[in-house]
Symmetry: C2
Subunit: 142 residues, 2 copies
C-alpha cells in the first residue's frame, strides 16, 4: 500500500521508520552478494582502509553504539574477515588477507547500492534530503 493512502504520511515518526526499513531491505539484498549485512560490509571496509581502528571509532563513524559494533565484529571474526587484538583497555581491528581481498567487490556493492536509489530523487533533491536528515539527526539529543 502506498503511503499516500495514509493520514500518517505527514508524521515524521512513521515516515523515517518506513524509509529506514526500505533502505535496509534494498541494502540487504545488495550486500547479499557477498553474504554480509550492510553494517558488516561497511565495518569491514573501514577495517581494511584503516588498519587497527578501534571499536569506539567504528561506532562513531557508522552512527552505531559500541555494543552493536562488538556484535558485528564477533561475526566478522567468525568469518575470518577481521581479527581483534586487545591491548590494555583498547582493542585494534585488522582485516585479514581474506577480508582484504573483498575490497574491490565491496566497493562495487557501494556503487550498485547507490545506483539502486539515486535516480529516484535525482542529485539535487537527494542531496537536500540527506543534508536535512543529517541536520535533524545531529540536532536531536543523543
Amino acid at each position: 500500500m502506498k503511503t499516500s493512502e495514509s493520514r500518517y504520511r505527514q508524521c515524521m515518526y512513521f515516515a523515517s521508520n518506513a524509509l529506514a526499513r526500505k533502505m535496509e531491505k534494498l541494502a540487504s539484498e545488495n550486500w547479499a552478494k557477498v553474504d554480509l549485512s550492510p553494517s558488516h560490509a561497511y565495518l569491514l571496509m573501514i577495517a581494511i582502509e584503516e588498519p587497527g581502528v578501534q571499536p569506539g571509532k567504528l561506532a562513531g563513524e557508522l552512527q552505531l553504539k559500541p555494543s552493536t559494533v562488538t556484535r558485528l565484529l564477533e561475526k566478522l571474526e567468525d568469518k575470518k574477515l577481521v581479527v581483534r587484538i586487545t591491548e590494555g583497555k583498547n582493542t585494534n581491528v585488522y582485516a585479514t588477507p581474506k577480508g582484504q581481498e573483498l575490497l574491490p567487490v565491496l566497493k562495487r556493492c557501494v556503487d550498485d547500492f547507490y545506483q539502486g536509489y539515486a535516480h529516484i530523487l535525482g542529485p539535487n533533491e537527494g542531496a537536500n534530503m540527506l543534508s536535512s536528515m543529517n541536520k535533524l539527526s545531529d540536532a536531536l539529543p543523543e
Copy 2:
C-alpha cells in the same frame, strides 16, 4: 559523536537508520507519559477514531506489516484499551471506554512530539524533507 565526523554521512543507509533511531527515541520518551510506544499510541488513536478498523487497514495506514499489527493489538488488548472481534476472515478493532478516554491525552502527545523536532528544520525544509522521504519510500520496492 556528531555525524559530521564520519565519512559515511553521505550514505543514505546510515543516515536514514540514524534518523529513524533518533526519532524513535524522541517519540518513545514522549509517549512514555501514557505508558505506550509510539506505534501502540497511533494504533489506539486510529481505533478510537475509526471504530471497527481492521488490522490490514491499520498496517497500511501505519506502514507496518499485518503481523506487526497483530502484536501491537495483543498488547493493547492486554491493557484493556482495545478489543478485537473476529467474524469470519476479518477482525474488527474497537477502542474500549478506557481506551477512548485517552484520546485527549494522546492528541496532546502528538502535538508535543511535533514540537520536539519541528523547530529544527522549520516548516519549509521540514516539509520538503518529508515529501522527499515519502517519494523515495514509495518508489522503493515493497
